[in-house]
Symmetry: C2
């Protein structure tokens, strides 16, 4: 690769002038600038971007902390982040934190030591809570999904309470009264919010809530299959399952079929997320559309604004969800 001195020789200027042509071109005369850029192009010279980073303390890199990189939903969010990053010439460092707090702290340190300009964190337990205590960090930070209320950094999320209320109300409107809940992990904000939405729907239909009809477990197909087995063994009169993710729902469908149930005739099951598989599985899944790619795009846009000094630190964005009605939930047959 051509070096700075090769360009300086060819253009007949000093190496410092070549350097300035790439870092602060307005300082040069038009003629000189033109000569340097022409020489650089002819020699295929690429200015050492690391040297530039060192000078301006900007890396044009954003660190994304993902709780599980192999999760379909997060992969789609990442795809949205990556699209906006590419448009704005940002690179993405991606770290799979596996929900490990030490790995999340390491991320914070990376920004403090100039490896990245800012952090986007997906999922639960936002790092932002760590670094606002004891004093707010200077690290540009955006959080997506499952954010607690009233935080001092930009966030993008959906209204989980309203979305869960809408989905549960749909089941209630179909005539279901004995509805089991396959919830996610009990300590998650998202789980608590979706359960609140479910209870809100029961209230408005005048149906009492029964804690014994709720089964908690991981947000996964295997988790859904196991929760469904426990819940259905205990309660043989359930006519519907309200689940907190499509993966949980798909696991529950597997269990119900293995138990010999005819779906949806014997049991209605709803999902949450609208992952692509829900459209192709049997029966095709009625669910809540979460705009995963869009969440990623908005998160990265907020980060770009933040780094450009164009956003105040607390821009909160809530994106719309919608019910996707397919065939896994049906009107309750008259007894």
């Amino acid at each position: 690769m051509a070096q700075i001195r090769d360009v300086s020789k060819r253009a007949g200027v000093s190496p410092a002038t070549v350097s300035r042509a790439f870092s602060d071109p307005s300082k040069l005369s038009k003629d000189t600038l033109k000569r340097v850029l022409k020489a650089a192009e002819e020699l295929n010279y690429k200015p050492n971007s690391l040297a530039q980073v060192f000078r301006v303390k900007r890396t044009n890199t954003v660190l994304v902390l993902v709780p599980d990189i192999a999760n379909v939903l997060f992969a789609r969010v990442l795809s949205g982040i990556e699209r906006i990053a590419a448009e704005n010439n940002y690179l993405l460092l991606v770290s799979d934190t596996k929900d490990d707090i030490a790995l999340e702290r390491a991320g914070l340190e990376m920004v403090e030591t100039l490896r990245a300009d800012g952090i986007i964190q997906l999922g639960e337990r936002p790092l932002g809570d760590l670094h606002t205590h004891p004093e707010p960090s200077k690290v540009p930070f955006v959080h997506a999904f499952d954010t607690p209320d009233a935080v001092p950094y930009p966030t993008v999320r959906i209204n989980n309470v309203a979305a869960a209320d809408a989905m549960a109300s749909y089941l209630l409107a179909l005539g279901h009264r004995r509805i089991g809940v396959l919830a996610g992990l009990k300590d998650r904000i998202v789980t608590r919010e979706r359960l609140r939405g479910f209870r809100q729907a029961l209230d408005s239909f005048g149906v009492p809530f029964e804690e014994s009809l709720v089964e908690y477990g991981p947000y996964s197909m295997a988790g859904g299959a196991q929760s469904a087995l426990r819940l259905l063994s205990r309660n043989r009169d359930l006519t519907a399952l309200f689940t907190m993710s499509d993966e949980i729902a798909i696991g529950a469908v597997r269990t119900a079929m293995d138990l010999g149930l005819d779906l949806p005739a014997n049991l209605s099951i709803t999902g949450f997320d609208n992952i692509e598989f829900g459209k192709f599985c049997t029966p095709p899944l009625t669910t809540v559309m979460q705009p995963a790619e869009r969440i990623g795009e908005v998160a990265m846009t907020l980060m770009c604004n933040l780094l450009a000094g164009e956003t105040t630190g607390d821009a909160q964005q809530t994106l719309a969800t919608e019910l996707v009605i397919r065939s896994s939930a049906k009107r309750l047959a008259q007894a």
Copy 2:
């Protein structure tokens, strides 16, 4: 955050000595080194890693080029890469190239300009082919999946021919003779290799190959659903579909069910990859296990070795696959 001069003051040494303690500690006396590290710890001082990078021209960062970050299989490979990277203190830059050659070239430039130490590329059209022409690049490069034969860089892949032969032989052994093929995109190495394996199996069972029973399309559920519709409309006597990915197979299952076929009684369908959904969908999918996480782990291990100067440039690794027999393919009923 504490600065270098704070540490130098507290330890009673010059800032240059503090710097040396982190960059070249063997140059200091044991006593001095101890004093500096103690002061640094007490002040929670973090050496500016970017400055270190600039000095040693090592970023401890590896760029991963992914053709589609939202693809389940690539997400799992990425998860394996990330695990080994974390163990070896490497960071990952992830770029979704969307199969765009310009974006792949941009990746190469990032290494030349010291933003990353090396590149791991997943999927088709390895960048390695670009940058070996006209002269081999000095960029450390590892390729995973779909690599042409005899390349001058480390690769990790499976034996697609043998795996496809095994899967097709299983269908033939079950008595199927009219087998349709739902292939991936026609110009892909992986498609050609899996088709070769399929034909090899037909040969060994003495069954003639018919090009009209092959339908090409994208490696996706939507692609599989459409290819299946075209193929099944044209050929009503097929008793089995050999597909080139689980996503294609799941799309084909949807189409077959929508056509009113009883699966697997009327039609056997096999997949390829062993993604998690295949285990939970209906009918559970018979498929070929591709060790996706392991492929990622091996790719990153090869990269670590390459960067440590411990691997020659052409270490080729082929990982084992195995048939996963579930219930989507059944013995052909006697006519």
